[in-house]
């Protein structure tokens, strides 16, 4: 994917969250957004996905002028995975996936079912297809919501700390699912605290602090950081006890 941000700023209730962010990235498939809490990572992801609009600046993602484009059309071309799974509680796992395909993307129900069942099979959730979200584990539900975002064959999938609500074992199964995105050559952008995982899954890293991008570059910067900020951050998160 190609990405260009020009002078992006965002505030909440007078507080500056993103402060004149600029970046240009070309032809990357997995981008990891890392940084301490409150750095503005999730906000940046929400701006890129069109869920929020910035107070100023321009966002280009591939050929989409996100800030100017009809949001409703843009949403049909990107996927978003939230911290919590956000599946609809009254629908089965299968229906959670097919409803979007059928109603928003206009697929015939047979075709929608086929797409959903294929994905559930690949991601080893097929035996849970007729259950409602409350009857499966948090990890399975999060994987189902990843499938829901994949089913529409989006140009990019945005993942906002998809494992933060899960215990380590369930996190692991979700992270394995995300690694599959990489195998599938899917474009994705993930906010994560798991540095080890970022190294495996992504090919580009953006490090943020206090609403600014402090350092960015290929995945190797995680081993040889140029700035002290990134070095300190990595030292702090990869502690041994």
């Amino acid at each position: 994917m190609d990405l260009a941000l020009k002078h992006i700023s965002q505030t909440y209730e007078g507080k500056i969250i993103l402060d004149d962010v600029n970046i240009e990235i070309k032809n990357k498939s997995g981008i990891a957004l890392i940084g301490p809490s409150g750095a503005g990572k999730s906000t940046l992801l929400r701006l890129l996905s069109g869920i929020e609009d910035p107070i100023s600046g321009e966002i280009c993602l591939n050929h989409h002028e996100v800030t100017h484009e009809d949001k409703h059309e843009y949403f049909k071309k990107v996927g978003f995975v939230f911290q919590a799974h956000n599946l609809f509680p009254h629908l089965t796992i299968l229906r959670n996936i097919t409803l979007v395909l059928e109603k928003v993307h206009g697929y015939e129900i047979e075709k929608a079912n086929k797409i959903a069942l294929d994905l559930l099979e690949q991601f080893e959730l097929i035996e849970h297809k007729d259950k409602i979200p409350a009857k499966i584990s948090g990890g399975q539900a999060q994987r189902a919501s990843i499938i829901r975002s994949l089913a529409i064959q989006p140009e990019v999938v945005f993942l906002d700390e998809p494992t933060s609500a899960l215990d380590p074992i369930l996190s692991h199964e979700v992270l394995k699912t995300i690694l599959k995105l990489r195998e599938k050559k899917m474009n994705f952008m993930i906010v994560t605290h798991e540095i080890g995982f970022a190294k495996k899954a992504a090919d580009y890293v953006i490090f943020m602090e206090n609403g600014k991008i402090v350092e960015h570059g290929d995945i190797s910067i995680l081993d040889q950081p140029k700035t002290n900020n990134l070095k300190n951050f990595i030292d702090n998160v990869s502690y041994d006890i």
């Binding site: 996905s49 069109g50 869920i51 409703h72 949403f75 049909k76 990107v78 978003f80 939230f82 919590a84 956000n86 599946l87 609809f88 509680p89 009254h90 409803l99 979007v100 109603k103 928003v104 993307h105 409602i132 979200p133 409350a134 829901r148």
Partner: protein, 256 residues
Amino acid sequence: MSTYKALSMKKSKLKHILLALLFYIALVSFIVLSYPGRDNFRIEAVFGYTNILAKGYINTIIISLIVLVLSLLFGFVLYLLSNSKILTFKYISNIFSEVVFGTPTIVFLIVTFYFIAVPLNLTNRFLAGIIGFSLFMGPYMRNAFIGAIKSIDDTQYQAMKVLGFSSYQKYRYIILPQLVKVIIPPMIGNLAIIIKGSSLLNFIGVEELYNQITTIQSRTYAVVEGYLIMFLLYLSITIPLIFLAKYFEKKVASWI
């Protein structure tokens, strides 16, 4: 193994239900045996007027169902007003609701009848009673709507947005199906309140169950017997409703 466990749990539950029923049978027998007027107890006197009894029973059911529908509509309007961005509308709804919550049902019904219905020349007591009672139940319905809408959390709205659903599709496929399921149990609860409260319409002369039984009582002097029949007839409507509400609550609880 697990089905066996479930079965034995069911069996022991049944045992306790039977024991509880036995307790009440004993209690009722005790009351009947020690009741001083049992030699003059003539329940059959009431049965001589089954047509009046039936009229009251049917009227109570009809009134309750009409009040349910009208108060549901009125409650929805109140809900929309309390959610309005125009603060005046919000306060109009809120003040009315607080007034209702602070007023005994019978006082509200009498006040609306004598100060609103009568001056407006609405002399049909049946209709006036239904309107007054529907106004009274509106805020309770409003609260049921508020509770139901709250059950759909913000994360779902975000998901609907980013998945690209149109406004119509959001309501049709995601919000309404959840609302209907969540709102059924409190609505049945409100219907039980309506049925019980409808007995108060007697005081403005509506010919419902309570009213009709007082008619029979005055003709037969079977006062105690009349109250006993009244007691049982009200229960015959409300107890099935309570079971129905529990059934729906279980259904809803399974997916929340």
